[in-house]
């Protein structure tokens, strides 16, 4: 045990002092925050600063639509009205767009029973703007139709008053505020953290094996330490590096979450609810996921001679992780379907898919117990295979091992 801890300590210190640790500790949250911001900000501030023109034959309808669009305070959109508009005005609006005086215009043709509305914009694929315009046009249209049926304007305002739906989630006998958006972000965040950590630290174990193989330190070490102790020390040391890094990220996340900037972004949004049991289970799934993948990568690395060879295998080993990610939306929508249950039982996909299920709906205890039990069993099997391959593979230099060779190594004592 003393030697295992000495090896773990050495591995831990070497990684912590390395440049890669410092770079990833800073860079990963920055990239993650960037992705989150990219997802949140456009929906929050659609069409910020945009200048559009509402062109309609009916001045009253155009004015109503302008009021609807201007009601979105966050958007800060400038709306001009052109009413009554004639077909020739459309050419003039195109010319203004060419001169970049306006970003787009809404062309409303009221001929017939149902008005034809067209939004012409300089940029394609502006979904958030499209959605906001759609909502504003329909709201204005409803108001206009009601007015045409001689309903007094005060009644119209009352009739069309919008209601915000407050979503709550019922767990452990109490209701807590929740929203689909915050659940989505939280689930995505947890899965990203788990996926990234498991794959990255698993690969780090593999890389560390290759480096020791390349530096020819193994035989020196094996004259003192058992191969299995070396492997165990390496797994513990690099696992501790992972925990350190995640702890730094969580601490940074905590500081950021309470900062004014994030508060302003998240204003009004319900915060995802996480219980202490879920936190403990997520930690457990991280540790087991890491143990499973790193043991696998260690065995794989022992059969390779260079990091490049290991890199070639890596995507294959990471398939289950990315498969889990692909099932994200499905599991959130159907947390108790047979497929969601199966993937959360299958050890390579269990850690991430269980994280999804936690955010959607807490699974029954027996399913968690079974999934953890299967993971422990699979770790035992992979550890047994990997340590045998590792013991022989680390002393083989010069060529990549073939599958029949690896099978022979399993038989060597």
């Amino acid at each position: 045990m003393r030697n295992i801890l000495l090896i773990a300590r050495r591995e831990y210190l070497e990684q912590i002092r390395g440049k890669a640790f410092k770079v990833t500790t800073i860079l990963i949250p920055v990239v993650f925050m960037g992705l989150m911001a990219a997802a949140i900000l456009p929906s929050k501030y659609w069409g910020t600063g945009k200048h559009i023109v509402v062109a309609a034959q009916d001045p009253a309808f155009a004015a109503s639509l302008r009021d609807q669009l201007a009601a979105d305070k966050d958007a800060k959109v400038t709306v001009d009205v052109l009413a009554p508009a004639a077909p020739a005005d459309r050419q003039a609006l195109h010319a203004e767009m060419d001169r970049k005086q306006i970003d787009g215009f809404l062309w409303i043709d009221s001929a017939g029973d149902k008005p034809q509305v067209t939004y012409v914009s300089r940029s394609a694929g502006d979904f958030t703007t499209d959605e906001s315009i759609n909502s504003a046009v329909n709201q204005a249209l409803v108001e206009q139709r009601l007015v045409k049926r001689d309903i007094p304007p005060t009644d119209v305002a009352q009739l069309t008053d919008k209601v915000d739906i407050k979503t709550m989630v019922y767990r452990a006998g109490r209701e807590t505020p929740s929203s689909a958006m915050s659940t989505l972000f939280f689930g995505e965040g947890m899965a990203f953290l788990l996926t990234f950590s498991i794959v990255m630290y698993g690969m780090n174990v593999g890389r560390s094996v290759i480096q020791e193989k390349t530096s020819r330190i193994f035989e020196v070490m094996l004259a003192t330490v058992k191969a299995t102790d070396m492997l165990a020390g390496k797994l513990i040391g690099i696992g501790a590096v992972g925990i350190t890094q995640i702890a730094i990220w969580i601490a940074l996340g905590g500081i950021l979450a309470s900062s004014a900037l994030v508060e302003s972004w998240m204003a009004g949004a319900a915060k995802p609810q996480v219980s202490i049991v879920e936190v403990i289970l997520l930690c457990l799934y991280f540790l087991l996921g890491y143990a499973l993948y790193s043991t696998f990568f260690a065995g794989l690395a022992a059969t390779c001679d260079t990091e490049q060879e290991l890199q070639q295998y890596a995507p294959l080993a990471a398939v289950p992780v990315w498969l889990s990610f692909g099932l994200f939306v499905y599991i959130l929508g159907n947390p108790n379907s047979i497929w969601s249950i199966l993937v959360s039982m299958f050890p390579p996909t269990a850690p991430i898919t269980m994280a999804f299920r936690f955010t959607a709906q807490f699974p029954p205890a027996w399913q968690i117990a079974l999934s953890l039990g299967l993971m422990v069993l699979s770790i035992y099997i992979v550890l047994w295979l990997s340590s045998r391959i590792y013991r022989v593979g680390i002393l083989m230099y010069g060529k990549r091992a073939t599958v029949p060779e690896m099978l022979r190594w399993l038989r060597y004592s």
């Binding site: 030697n3 000495l6 090896i7 050495r10 070497e14 002092r17 390395g18 480096q211 020791e212 530096s215 020819r216 330190i217 193994f218 035989e219 020196v220 070490m221 094996l222 004259a223 003192t224 330490v225 058992k226 002393l395 230099y397 022979r408 060597y412 004592s413």
Partner: protein, 311 residues
Amino acid sequence: MSSASVAAPVKAPVVALDRISKSYENKVAVQDLSLQIDPGTMFGLLGPNGSGKTSTIRMMIGITMPDSGSVTMFGKPYARESLRRVGYLPEERGLYKKMKVMEQLVFLGQLRGLDPAVAGKRAHEWCERLQILDASQKKTEELSKGMQQKIQFIATLMHDPDLVVMDEPFSGLDPVNTSLLQDTLIELKKAGRAILFSTHRMDQVEKLCDSICLIHRGHAVLSGGMREVKSRYERDRVVINFEGDVSFLQHPAIKSFKNYSGQAEIQLHPHANAQDLLRAATEMATIFRFELMEPSLEEIFIRTVGEKIDA
């Protein structure tokens, strides 16, 4: 003077291999090999590349297990705990490149059971002795290959092992450092340590070792004390330094010769009389040196292996 005589204590061998064998699939790496190394001796394990030297050493120190036969270490059947008393310098040796020299030595010392303070003190003493104290705070990757080899040497010896096993210890070292490390090994031998050398450099073994075992294709083809092994072979080589007529080189006792200006290296026929040759040479030329030499280990090796190939 005391009339009582005290019998010298019989020293048990530090390590003994008894008929060990190891095969990998269809390849026999080592077959029925036996040897033993006594305390205070240097033992040479000789053989060409791929002859089974490294496989033998790996079984000796438990990196691999023999298919048959047994290993006895410090008087007991092999057990991992014995490795605390062994220093092993493999042929495929390396260091952690990113670690500082002193940190690395303390780490390796701790793995061999030393307390960190003791490991630090010994590492410092050894660095001073091998003249690399200036480099002790540098990262290993910043050092030359020779310097790194000295660090590996220290890592092998700093826990004061009773058995030192070295696979090609001097490869890649310059003559000054080779001599420094050879002197260190001789001191260790005098201090009662058992040392096993594995090499294909016969000249080094000849100079340093007390006993040898020559391996060829996994078999021990020649073994015993250095003097005893050499005495099995006739003194049939002559070196003559001379001036004058060279026609004595046509003497019937000569099987073959190489003549450099003023020095002839001669191989005699089996059982030929060297004295006859000396007489003939003195009649024709002025002789400054006439030396009847025993065969070098290299020649013995080539002859023995050649015989085995022919057989």
